[in-house]
């Protein structure tokens, strides 16, 4: 299953930035009796936005943007960043893309803490590849740079159909004393259900044996639970959510050849009343950057 995610960044002047990201996901299979692989290619426009850095505290964004709900959608989603390739079960809650306007920024609250925030409004769109819901919401986070801890909360109000609310909390900690990256999210939706995930990624650089290999190797574990909401099986499938309560444990590893180039593998076991399933993942992720020209 190849995934290609092109990102385009065009700085304009001192304060403007045009940025866009597409996603092409192919699911190829070799039918019985056929010698070659065939399958559909899913195409998405994740974001296409114009950013204006108004001052050190506020950036204004207009266009199509990633909905800032929790940390996974905006920060961890790219395949070269995420520690485990399967996305968390609760990922569809509150995330996706919106079309509208957003204010965001990061502000030092004191010498010990930085506050980051995002507030947004998205309009309803049914245009092919530019779909979005009419909604409003916000996210606020407090980052403690000494401790490398971030705690935050998200809120979202749907302004159409059932007018459901969603809320979430996120936590991230990268201790100074150990090469550990601990992240967690909880999300609740009045329509879709609720759940959480906790993930730890540990770089094996503290192991003294085979240092050349160990310092590039990362072990990852994630556990998660999902409690299904009151939606029909069809609606749940549209959202990409399980229709019943589910639990999952994932174990994996990454080998970083360098920043942006890694080999990855994982094993996951899902438990639900539909049955228990194994999920194996193996792949590589490569991110490269090159200048398109001079403006």
């Amino acid at each position: 299953m190849p995934i290609v995610m092109p990102v385009v960044l065009v700085p304009l002047g001192e304060r403007w930035l045009v940025e866009a990201r597409g996603e092409f996901k192919g699911e190829f299979e070799k039918p019985a009796g056929s010698g070659s692989f065939h399958g559909p290619v899913e195409k998405e426009l994740d974001y296409a936005e114009l950013d204006f850095i108004a001052n050190s505290r506020v950036t204004v964004t207009v266009g199509r943007f990633l909905t800032p709900f929790g940390i996974y959608n905006e920060r961890l989603y790219p395949v070269w960043i995420r520690s485990l390739q399967p996305v968390p079960t609760i990922f569809p809650i509150g995330t996706g893309s919106g079309n509208g306007v957003m204010l965001r920024g990061g502000v030092p609250a004191s010498s010990k803490a930085n506050v980051n925030y995002a507030v947004y409004f998205s309009t309803n769109s049914t245009i092919n590849k530019l779909e979005s819901d009419r909604l409003a919401g916000g996210r606020v986070g407090v980052f403690f740079p000494r401790q490398r801890i971030e705690i935050g909360a998200s809120f979202q109000q749907l302004l159409q159909e059932g007018r459901y609310r969603s809320a979430g909390f996120h936590f991230a900690w990268q201790p100074v004393a150990a090469p550990l990256n601990l992240r967690s999210e909880f999300a609740w939706s009045g329509e879709q259900g609720r759940g959480y995930w906790i993930e730890g990624a540990y770089r094996l650089s503290q192991i003294s044996k085979w240092q050349k290999v160990m310092r590039h190797t990362e072990a990852v574990a994630r556990m998660q639970q999902f409690f299904a909401g009151g939606i029909t099986a069809g609606t749940a499938a549209d959202y990409g959510l399980p229709t019943v309560n589910a639990e999952e444990l994932d174990l994996g590893g990454n080998y970083y050849f360098r920043d942006g180039f890694k080999a990855t593998a994982s094993y996951g076991r899902e438990f639900s009343s539909f049955g228990n399933f194994n999920r194996w993942t193996i792949g590589t992720a490569y991110r490269f950057a090159f200048p398109l020209g001079r403006l």
């Binding site: 950013d51 950036t59 960043i81 990061g106 740079p145 000494r146 401790q147 971030e150 936590f171």
Partner: protein
């Protein structure tokens, strides 16, 4: 597992992070210092690396070297995406361009 387990888990996580924050806060070597224009190259390297690890290191591996022009574009992208503060970003860019 029930919602009670979930609540207990979240409470434990909050407690754990609060204790960890208190302990880690005693390490003065990790404390950020204000940006000063008179900072030497060594100061920039030390402080910039510290801020790179605290901000960028949450998602990215060791610093990747790009030409300065590309670095400024990436800096603007990351400032919007990761909501890094103005001061942190200036030090990180100076460090990465060294």
């Amino acid at each position: 597992m029930t919602s009670r387990h979930l609540l207990c888990g979240l409470l434990a996580l909050t407690l754990f992070s609060t204790v960890a924050a208190g302990k880690a806060g005693r390490h003065n070597d990790a404390a950020p210092v204000p940006v000063q224009h008179s900072m030497t190259d060594d100061d920039v390297r030390v402080e910039g690396e510290k801020r790179f690890q605290a901000n960028c290191g949450r998602c990215h591996q060791s610093p990747h070297k790009f030409p300065p022009r590309m670095m400024l574009t990436i800096e603007r992208h990351m400032r919007v995406r990761a909501l890094t503060t103005d001061e942190d970003m200036r030090l990180i860019v100076r460090y990465l361009n060294q």
